[in-house]
Each structure stands twice: as structure tokens, then as C-alpha cells.
Symmetry: C2
Subunit: 336 residues, 2 copies
Amino acid sequence: MRACRREPVPFTPIWLMRQAGRYMPEYRDVRARVGFLELCKTPSLAAEVTVTAAERLGVDAAIIFADILLPLEPMGLDLEFMKGDGPVIHNPMRSAADVHRLVELEEVGALEFVLEAIKQTRRALRSDLPLIGFAGAPFTLASYMVEGGGSKTYVQTKSLMYNDSGAWNAMMSLISRALVKYLNAQVEAGAQALQLFDSWVGCLSPDDYQQYVLPHTRSVLAGINRETPVIHFGTGTGELLRLISEAGGNVIGIDWRVRLDNGWERIGHDKAVMGNLDPVALFANRKHLRLQAKTILEQAGGRPGHIFNLGHGILPETPVENVIALVEMVHEMSTQ
Amino acid sequence: MRACRREPVPFTPIWLMRQAGRYMPEYRDVRARVGFLELCKTPSLAAEVTVTAAERLGVDAAIIFADILLPLEPMGLDLEFMKGDGPVIHNPMRSAADVHRLVELEEVGALEFVLEAIKQTRRALRSDLPLIGFAGAPFTLASYMVEGGGSKTYVQTKSLMYNDSGAWNAMMSLISRALVKYLNAQVEAGAQALQLFDSWVGCLSPDDYQQYVLPHTRSVLAGINRETPVIHFGTGTGELLRLISEAGGNVIGIDWRVRLDNGWERIGHDKAVMGNLDPVALFANRKHLRLQAKTILEQAGGRPGHIFNLGHGILPETPVENVIALVEMVHEMSTQ
């Protein structure tokens, strides 16, 4: 929490995106019993995997176990997680007519299970560990809604954006209004910080980001309770960091493709940063892992406002012991 | 050719990566009769699709129809193109022992079909249209050899790179030596310019690129006949452009994630550049397509040494008429 506000800290805090995930045996045990969506919708289990991961790893924050696509269901999308294939949306938005069928999220009752998971996690979690809530950013959610799943090229998403900016903006505005309600409800439920995941925004040119995305993301970030620090994250965003920072957020996520010092300079030192180890570095031997972590700490230069994290989520085959070792290394190497 | 050397030109030249490809009915007709690898290995057909695409589109260069993975077969890899799934290598290189089994490419006889296709294309092509030869760069080829196909995360490739730099460097050196022979043979066969595709290098941090990749790519580029202009291309390379330019090449490819003016500045105006329209812009209406093309020409600022191209290959569903319209627009808007 102090790092989010760029206050001095005794050591660099660290947590890891997707820290409660498939690489962890405790998580796989739970998933052997329930499907992914069922896990998200069962607050006691979501709280359990959230707390277990944070305690097992010795990290400095927990992030609520949930999925960025959960708010799509109450907006009228038919969401399914297929085994091995990732999410599929059976009624993707391809036209203005589709967009007009989207449901305005009037209240967040349909996502009560996430709020309940936050409450239960907050009660179970060590009191000095902050709990992070999160949501997908408008562009990243729109890309799933339009493509009907993941994409390599974003042809459908960009085609709608280029060819029917009215429908595009209507969809992005509707998503943005839903996100403001959802994120503020997470804070009320007990989330102490928030992260906005614009994971796939790096597929856009800077001009397209500025024109089609930035105003919507800004409206989400402007709508969030001012007391709550927000981490604004994306991947492949080297050219977008300045614009992403302009859109808002107290902490800007940087991936490993950008050196942390260069990225922070682009963002401006009046904001905190989060990052930026390549998730694959966790497959390297200890010596190499240590060297890579050290390089990042050196690039941060001991400046207040650095939260150590990966540049993207932990990969499924990652050895747990390396994750634990990384947390220890970062604590040790950054202790003043 | 003149743009490669940064000499003044009457209009901005344009060609498009993967211009002979699945989006084109004439190409699909040929593929209805032969498989992908068979097409690559039949010089008369490879020449036919190469020439047809260049003439149909009215572009200013042809690029030989081939695949970057073709040199992997004579190096001992068992390559197959699966319908819909892309390339699969049945014996990927995962360890030093695997790497030691790689076959040094002593001479390029095993790739004679590419050289013969170049000869036939050069004879059939309008004499004022230059013919571009090409190869994959060491990192991108290594990534296929190690992963056994395409990858989202490059876990195996980077793991080998981090954990056994001896095996990594041996593999990269062997690939580099093969590439020098292969590219020079293409020039001898009639290719007037060359392109080195480091398509996936954008997955690396700048430090990793500098340490594990740059020396090898440099050795390839240093080994090529000095008279032949070389285009050095990658995607997601915003942070790498300076290093890529340092590795070599007369023309540096820029993808759409970087503004052309910013990219060119980073590369240095003593080099030519190629790019950088988002391939998805070809799915937009004409007005929008024109606007996007105009923006790129404006960013190039009429400076000699800009070759118009996409930021990556043409996508399979692209409407042919939009590609033709783009070529006309670029010629018209850039005519002095």
C-alpha cells in the first residue's frame, strides 16, 4: 500500500499475477473437485485459493481469485470455459445490432459471489496483507466480447472499431459504466487496492489506443473511489505507457519487453510502477533468476514506488519452489 | 531498390508481406491441387504464385514464395505443415544432446528448389520489378526448432537459452552459418534484395536480445554479399529497434505498434525503414484505410528511404480488392 503511494518501504514488496493458479498443487487439488467457473462462483473456495497462495509464497499482497470475464455474463454474454481451450463466448458481438442487445449492468448483485469472496478472504487473510480486487479494462473485455474468445490478430474487434465507431463507443461506454460499479463494489466489500487488466491492448497502434480506447479507460479510472490505489496494467505496451499513464492509475504495470528504468521514465516518476520479470525467468536456474531479479531492482534504483511483479501471469508449468525463491530473493536483495 | 539505398523516388514503393497467400483466389486455386510444402518444393508453382501476386496487386516488388522453415529439414528437423495448425517439428531441440544431433548445412543443394524458383521467377517477372529473397533469422528459427512449432510463451526456447547457453550458442551459430550460405545462394540465383524475418524476437527483453541473439544475427548480416540490400524485420520490437539496427540491415522493418516517425528516429535516419500499416486496417472501409495510409506517409515525411508495407503479413481473410486499393492509394498519395 505504501509502495502504491510512493512512500519509503523497508524492502521492495512483491506479489505475482496469477499467483493462485494451475502451477500450484494446492490449486490443482481444488480444481480436481470443481470447474473453473464454479470455483469463481463459490466464495469459500475462491477465498481459500486466494489465501493459500499468498501464505504459501510469502508475498506482500493477495489478489482475489476471480476472472476478468465474469462481468460478461450479467451483460448478456454466454460464457463458457472449455477444457484446455480457454474461454468461449457463444454469442459474440459482431455488429451494432449485437451491441444493442447488451444488458446495462444496473447493479452488481449478479456478481455478488465475487464480493462475498472478497469479504471472506479479507476475514481469513493476515491483517497486514492487503487484498487487491480487479477487473478487465474496457478494450480487453471488448476484445473477448467481439472475438468470442482469445485472438492472435483481433480482426473482428478492430474491424468493428474502424467500421462502426458508434457501435464501438456504445459498447465501450456500457462496459465502462459496468466496471465503475463493479470495482467500487469490490472496494466496499474490502478490496484495498484495485488492478485494471488491459492485457491485450498492446495489439493497438498508439493512435488507435488514443482514439478508441483511452477515453473509455479514463472514464473507468475517474469513476473509482479516490482513496483506493489503482494498478493499470497491460502487455506489449512499450509505445503506450505514456498514454496508459495519462488514462489514469496510481501504479502502471510494465512488462519485460521494456526495461523498467526506461518504462518508468516514460510513465513519469510521479507514478509508481509494477513489474517486470519475464514469467519464463522462473524456469531458469537460481543463479540466472537471481541475476534477472537483481537487474530489475537495480533499474528501479531504490526509488520509492516500485512493486515487484512479473510482466504477465505465472505460467502453468512454473516450478513452485522457484516462485518462493524469487520472493525471498527480492526481499533479501532490496532490504536496506 | 532505390528506396533501400535512400535515394529519391518518384513515389513511395509498396509491397506486402505474404502478398502471395491464402487471401488470394489464384493462390487458393493452386493450393487446392498441392499441399503447402509441395508448393514450396515445386519451382514452377512457387514462381507462378510469386509472379501472379505481384502483377495482380500492382506492387513494386515480388518476394519469392517459400517458407522460413524450409532450411530446417536439411539441418535434421522433421517438419510437417498440419492443416489448420501450422508447422509442427516432430523432433524438437530441447537439450544439448538434441543440439549436437543438428546437421551442419555444408552446401545448399538440399534447398535447390528455392534457388530454382528464384531463377524461374526472375525470368517470368517484369524486368523492372525487383525480386526479394528471404530467410528466418536465427532466433525465430531457433524458437520453432526448440518449441516444435509456434508458441505464445517461448518457455522451452528461453529455458534452453537461460539454462544452457553453451547449447544455445552452438545452435544459434550453426543456424547462422547455414543462413549465410542460403541467403548468398539466393542472391546468386537472382534475388536482388533480401529480407531477414525475426518475426518473434519481440518476445524478448532488450537485455536478452542483446546477450543471446544480437551477436548471431549480426554474424548472418555481416556474411551477406555487401551489394545486396537487406531488410531486417521483426514484430513487437519497439524497444529493440535500436539494437536490431545495430545488428545490421539496410532497411529496418517497423510494425504498427510503433509510430513510423518515432521508430525511424530510434533506428537512425542513416537507414531506410519499411512499414507499418496494421494488417487489420485492410478490413476497414476505404475512407478509414486511406486515412491510416496517409498518416503513415505523413510520418515518413517524404524522406527518401521509406518502403510502404504492413507491420506483419496479410491475414487470410483480407479482401483482395482492399489490398489493390491500398497499393493505388499509396502510389497516388505519395506521388510528388
